[in-house]
Subunit: 235 residues, 2 copies
């Protein structure tokens, strides 16, 4: 990083970083609350998650305005411009994660509190925990500017995809066993897909964070596949 | 619009507009091809749609770079800054639409060519046509800067949601009738959800386009609900 003669540029960047950190931890808490609400059929908790999405939207708008003002006012070059544009992109992924957590919350009403449905809901539990952990990690790594830590983190997205494929098969099995399971399991399939998509946004954040820190692309970009969509032999 | 002493600002804006128009028509063609591929089990066509997503990504990066350079170089104020930032947001929605069309293409392999699966696939046909029409419309309206035309267009998003709810119920019925239908119908449920999400991105584009043209929010912002997620009585 080049030292700035005008320190307030760095101060403004630090303010932007703080918004990203807050959005990251807030969205991870939304994912956690939505998961608990799904597992325990907690409608009130689900409603709070749905309402919390407005906080994420407001923070993103605030970051966008600060970043655009900063670009217009300071005309940053190279490294600094990359950092500001990277922050806009990271905030956009975090805002989408907030949307997806809200969608998880909306599904709670459709998954009833019957013992069977609660059993099915547990199929997504460990996937949700992993996604939430990855989300907190990527934001902390970004704030610490620890580029090397992003390489193993991105590789862990594969674990989420493996879990998603397993959950997909498990839920399909419940549906085939008894048609009465179909509605709850269909909604849980959408929940699992939402969690997998949150994992994809975490990967996007890792890639943008690496680019901000190094100016290069994150190495070993693996091709992204949703295996459930390309295996006609699933049934 | 304020007249610019430096005409190249307008020329650069016009170049950005052309990228948006191209991305809009290209993504609508992707949605159409993916739908035909689903209805007719056309694997080759599906593969082309999947590959086409890279074109959308490249165009978005090109637009982002032009827009950021323009902001840094010209420091536009008020109306002009709003237009450039609006274009970045519209391109981001179009890029997401390309991703969703790619996801539709990926599902083709999972929906077999049996007569039953082809029947199920037709449940999404009219929804796909409406989504594609809306997408072409919103981009044309943006290019023409016809703010008033955006009001009825946004209202039409409700039609997509109504169709989505009907498709969801229809597919669930097929699944309950015969467990052998579950795999194909599950993949088609994800396709229907992707189409509904494309409709949401069209609404985002309409809102951003209106803001670019008028500086105000598009009136009568209706609350967005996915009814399938909030009606536990569906089964």
């Amino acid at each position: 990083m080049v030292a700035h003669t005008v320190t307030s540029f760095d101060e403004e960047l630090a303010a932007i970083d703080r918004i990203i950190r807050d959005m990251g931890h807030f969205s991870a808490a939304m994912v956690q609350a939505a998961t608990v609400a799904l597992l325990e059929g907690e409608q009130d908790m689900a409603r709070r998650v749905i309402a919390d999405d407005a906080v994420m939207d407001a923070r993103q708008r605030e970051l966008d305005e600060r970043a655009i003002t900063l670009i217009g006012k300071r005309q940053p070059m190279a490294d600094d411009l990359r950092t500001v544009v990277g922050a806009i992109r990271i905030a956009s992924d975090l805002e989408r994660i907030g949307d997806l957590a809200k969608n998880l919350g909306k599904r709670v009403a459709a998954v009833d509190k019957s013992p069977a449905s609660q059993t099915f809901a547990h199929s997504i539990e460990s996937m949700a925990e992993l996604v939430q952990h990855q989300l907190e990690r990527v934001v902390d790594i970004y704030i610490e500017r620890d580029a090397e830590a992003l390489v193993p983190l991105r590789a862990d997205d594969e674990k989420i995809d493996v879990q998603y494929t397993a959950v997909f098969r498990e839920l399909l099995t419940y549906m085939m066993e008894d048609p009465r399971n179909i509605t709850a399991c269909t909604h849980l399939l959408f929940c699992a897909k939402n969690l997998e998509r949150i994992g994809d946004h975490v990967t996007n954040i890792a890639e943008n964070a690496y680019y901000v820190m190094t100016g290069s692309q994150l190495p070993a970009n693996r091709p992204k596949v949703d295996e459930t969509g390309t295996q006609p032999s699933l049934a």
